[in-house]
Symmetry: C2
Subunit: 195 residues, 2 copies
DNA sequence: GCCCGACTGGATCGAACGTTCCAACCAGGT
DNA sequence: ACCTGGTTGGAACGTTCGATCCAGTCGGGC
């Protein structure tokens, strides 16, 4: 059964091209070619066209990114070290891909804000999912939920922004510095709330 | 003399559309129309075509953003409060524009990383300029240059990322939380280095 | 063996893309 | 009054965009 296989190949190819070139830059024909499928198949599996495909690709990329964050936060029982581990995982992924395999949501989200509601909603859910993931990991150290939520929000923000800086500069320094500072912030919050 | 006037109108319109729709999404004809000029004029003033226009538009937007950061850091002699002021200026700018007038560099930079060298370089210079600006403001409180540089890097990262979150969620909470946490980080560094 | 619905390859659509071209324009110098 | 060189409007170029159409291929149920 190629069917489910072809579908997921298309989603994967779309996710990859979307994160590299954005929504407008990634066109349907190259996506199909990268997936080893034909344009007809794309529109067969995604009758909603490019937009529907993009939403599903975003969800796919978001799940992969969530795995990376999970792995990072699981690297140590100390969430301060976990956050740093996330940043270092991102560095590794960026380096092995020549600074191309970054956050699968940022570009597409930014260029469609307020213009393609479906995509914006998918991006929103992705960010919320990541934030929940980080927040619960922090709460395991005794930090109250609201404080952990606030921290997680800034952690996601900083990781996103630091990845932007690192990609533009082709240099892992911004991400490594972000890792240090975020660890500091988390250590603070933990020290303050667990005596 | 319309000449210089038309040119700057084109640059301004390009900067605006670039930040909202990205490099691929902002096409030449709408830019010209928004500037009240004709396509011929665009190619008259920018023989290098869309790419040359984008580079100049990026520089224009970067300077405006630098003004915002300057204003924020000048709001208080305490850099911790200055950083928070920057975030709140960004909130104000985003709110009055229905979450569309954000960082003029992020989208375009992300979608052209590794594919349009001129744009990538312009984005790199913009980020470096902002970082220098923040770093010197922090150094005025006695923080050594290398520590201030590291802080400034994370500050830019976090502001960029928080703006992404705020725009996607149409909610100023991520930026306001980032302001709090960044103030905390700066206060730390200052307290550590000035006895 | 046949049929039917899922799937695919390739041609094709109108619209929009970036870019080019040229005739017209309009000021300033002579 | 006339040229001249920077500037403009509008049509046109070939290409690519997202999307549609259709004739076919294919495998599983009858």
């Amino acid at each position: 059964m190629d069917s489910r296989d072809t579908r997921t190949r298309i989603v994967r190819a779309a996710a990859e091209l979307l994160q590299r070139q954005g929504y407008e830059g990634a066109s349907v024909k190259p996506i199909a070619k990268a997936a080893g499928a034909s344009v007809s198949s794309v529109y067969h599996f995604f009758p909603g066209g490019k937009q529907e495909l993009a939403v599903e690709a975003l969800r796919h990329g978001a799940a992969e990114y969530a795995d990376l964050l999970s792995e990072g936060m699981a690297a140590s029982p100390d969430p301060a070290e976990g956050v740093a581990a996330c940043a270092h995982l991102m560095v590794a992924s960026l380096k092995t891909s020549s600074w191309v395999d970054g956050c699968p949501v940022a570009v597409t989200a930014l260029e469609t804000v307020g213009r393609v509601p479906g995509i914006q909603q998918a991006a929103e859910e992705a960010l919320a999912q990541w934030q929940r993931l980080v927040s619960t990991a922090i709460q395991r150290s005794g930090v109250p939920a609201d404080t952990a939520d606030e921290l997680a929000s800034t952690i996601i923000s900083t990781l996103e922004g630091a990845e932007l800086l690192s990609r533009v500069r082709q240099d892992d320094l911004p991400l490594r510095r972000a890792a240090t500072h975020l660890s500091q912030l988390v250590r603070f919050a933990v020290a303050e709330h667990v005596p």
